[in-house]
């Protein structure tokens, strides 16, 4: 065998090994998700069976039917929870993005006193575990009288997300060369126009990804929501999962069904937006 073909063979083997490695990694990541979907379709007996039943024998959509069936048939107010989750997540994401853009831009472009101190402070708030805040938040919110409202949850999630969006968006604005905004100003733009015409479109993919992060954080958050929300007025989907636990039993099937319902919008949104996350858009702006 000559050198060329042995080299080719080696490359092919490497490729196969590469695929096997990738497959195993993806399996580890995807299996729990797959298991949730499967469990939502199987009867509790099968879910709890020991040893586990790997291949489902009895598949039905009963859990979904019951969930949307309303109270009395084992249903939960899933539409209300869904609405609450949407309102709270979307509003808090929009606010966090607006504040994040303003803050991120300021950190990226301006010099001011205590800049690094403020920035570090933002980062430190990320170090506080959310659950540690639940009791003080509960007491304050109870005094103010905003327990069990959308407003309270939006406030919490904005506070939770803003440091992170500022940090992310700061990084994206830093990547947009300063020259571009200056060129736009010379071309006749005001600062404001230069921002919207040039800097914003270039940082937009980054801002979108910050938006995804903020949305998913609010959408999936459980610890704080479980303390502050009380009723269908403001309960979000993660808290709604608890409706499937009762004193002595847990309806695993129903819980998994609700989890699937929760995952779908998040997955769809991420999928839609990530298509727009075209990186390397700024390439070619300046020398290169």
């Amino acid at each position: 065998m000559d050198k060329n073909s042995s080299h080719r063979l080696k490359r092919r083997w490497l490729k196969v090994a590469h695929f096997i490695g990738l497959f195993l990694a993806m399996l580890v990541i995807c299996l729990p998700g797959l298991w949730i979907v499967l469990s939502s379709l199987r009867p509790t007996v099968e879910i709890m069976a020991k040893p586990p039943v790997w291949i489902p024998r009895d598949i039905s959509l009963d859990a979904y039917r019951a969930m949307f069936g309303g109270a009395g048939q084992g249903g939960i107010p899933v539409w209300e929870y869904f609405r609450n989750s949407l309102i709270i997540s979307i509003t808090s994401t929009i606010i966090a993005l607006i504040v994040g853009m303003a803050g991120g831009y300021a950190f990226a472009r301006y010099k001011f006193k205590g800049k690094s101190g403020v920035f570090l402070g933002f980062m430190l708030t990320r170090a506080v575990p959310g659950i540690a805040l639940s009791l003080p938040l509960f007491m304050i919110f109870a005094r103010v009288g905003i327990i069990d409202t959308h407003f309270a949850m939006i406030l919490i999630y904005v506070a939770l997300n803003v440091p992170f969006t500022i940090w992310l968006i700061d990084g994206f604005f830093r990547q947009v060369p300063k020259d571009l905004a200056e060129a736009a100003q010379i071309d006749g733009c005001t600062r404001w126009q230069a921002f919207w015409q040039v800097e914003f479109p270039l940082a937009a993919p980054g801002i979108a990804s910050a938006g995804i992060f903020a949305f998913l954080t609010s959408w999936n958050e459980y610890a704080l929501a479980s303390q502050i929300t009380r009723s269908v007025n403001s309960k979000t989907l993660p808290v709604g999962l608890l409706d499937y636990t009762s004193e002595f039993t847990i309806d695993w099937r129903g819980m998994c069904a609700l989890a699937v319902v929760m995952i779908i919008p998040a997955l769809t949104l991420t999928f839609i937006i990530q298509k727009h996350l075209v990186s390397g858009l700024t390439f070619g702006a300046v020398k290169g």
Binding site: E182, A183, Q185, I186, D187, G188, L202, A285, V286
Partner: protein, 365 residues
């Protein structure tokens, strides 16, 4: 009509002054180059004219009116950046028409003007591409096109050629010169490359440490440098500059070697004065091989050994050691010459310069 005038222009960052009150008058339609080593304040000065940098003191006037408080967009200027600063999310056409679109010019008019500029710069084929799909030279041309389309009173260039390779640089340099002839606007050009400054401009402003060292035509700054710094900065290879002491009609160098004191300076210095003696490589040459051989009037000849030769084809640079210092000589129509060979050199003292070692100023007066 847009002359640009700087009056006592100052830029400081905190307590540090980077531009120390410079005065400059740029005439209408003049091409002026600001040149100097990095950190001399030339870019800062340009950015103050553009309105991208706050003015700490003094006045910038464009077209006779102070513009200190006007934002860049109200100054009717165009600027070509070192990095080109093309908008990556727009096509070449959109890039060039951007200023007109912002200015709410009718689309038909935008198209005409963009196409006109594209024709001048030979960009017709690339109008629908993005900047990332263009080569460096093409991006440079788009940046110039964007500047032209606006029909500004003043063009500002911030080291526009420094990202291009050497061959392209000479080519675009010619294009800029042609552009100036064509658009008849005032142009202010910042560069650290003295060759660009010399070839392009009507007048050159040589800056150093936030001060203007000299303003003059390329010929003036080359032939009659006002300071030792200008003498060393303009011209390549740089002027030979060495310290000497005046002694009864002679300039005595370290090691006791001497040259006659050039006639022009006899009344300007006294015995015992320390001076900096400057002579360009063009004015030191193996006898008969000089650029000014024919018309030299005050020639001193000397036998000296050559230490290194650098042949360049039409000329050869010779490095010679005299007075414990290395001097560079330029030999035209070179003949083969080996290191160590002793050659008779002509020193054309009519072209010599003397500078004060303290102030660095010329002693020509």
């Amino acid at each position: 009509m847009a002359p640009v005038t700087l009056k006592k222009l100052v830029k400081s960052y905190g307590n540090v002054d980077v531009v120390h009150g410079i005065d400059l008058e740029v005439k209408d339609r003049e091409f002026i180059a600001l040149v100097g080593p990095s950190g001399c304040g030339k870019s800062t000065t340009l950015r103050m004219i553009a309105g991208l940098e706050d003015i700490s003191g003094g006045v910038v006037e464009i077209g006779g009116k102070p513009v200190n408080d006007l934002p860049p967009r109200a100054r009717n200027i165009s600027m070509v950046f070192q990095s080109y600063a093309l908008y990556p999310h727009m096509t070449v056409r959109e890039n060039m028409g951007f200023s007109l679109k912002i200015g709410k010019v009718a689309q038909a008019e935008i198209d005409t003007r963009v196409n006109e500029a594209a024709a001048i710069l030979d960009l017709d084929k690339y109008m629908d591409r993005r900047p990332s799909q263009l080569s460096g030279g093409q991006r440079q041309r788009v940046a110039m096109g964007r500047a032209i389309v606006r029909k500004p009173d003043v063009f500002l260039f911030d080291e526009p050629l420094s990202n291009l390779d050497a061959k392209l640089r000479t080519q675009v340099r010619t294009e800029i010169k042609r552009l100036h002839a064509r658009v008849q606007a005032t142009m202010i050009y910042v560069t650290h490359d003295q060759v660009e400054a010399m070839t392009l401009s009507d007048r050159i402003v040589i800056m150093r440490d936030g001060h203007i060292e000299q303003v003059g035509t390329p010929e003036e700054v080359f032939k009659r440098p006002a300071t030792r710094f200008v003498a060393g900065f303009i011209g390549s290879p740089p002027m030979n500059l060495n310290e000497a002491t005046v002694d009864s009609g002679k300039l005595v160098f370290a090691g006791g070697e001497s040259l006659p004191l050039p006639a022009e300076f006899r009344s300007k210095v006294a015995a015992g004065d320390k001076v900096i003696f400057g002579l360009r490589p063009d004015d030191i040459y193996p006898t008969g091989h000089g650029i000014n051989s024919g018309e030299a009037t005050d020639v001193h000849e000397m036998q000296l050994p050559v230490s290194i030769t650098e042949p360049l084809g039409n000329e050869t640079l010779l490095f010679i050691t005299m007075a414990q210092r290395e001097w560079v000589s330029r030999m035209l129509n070179p003949r083969p010459m080996g290191a160590g060979e002793v050659v008779k050199f002509s020193f054309d003292l009519s072209q010599a310069h003397l500078f004060s070692p303290e102030s660095g100023k010329t002693l020509r007066g």
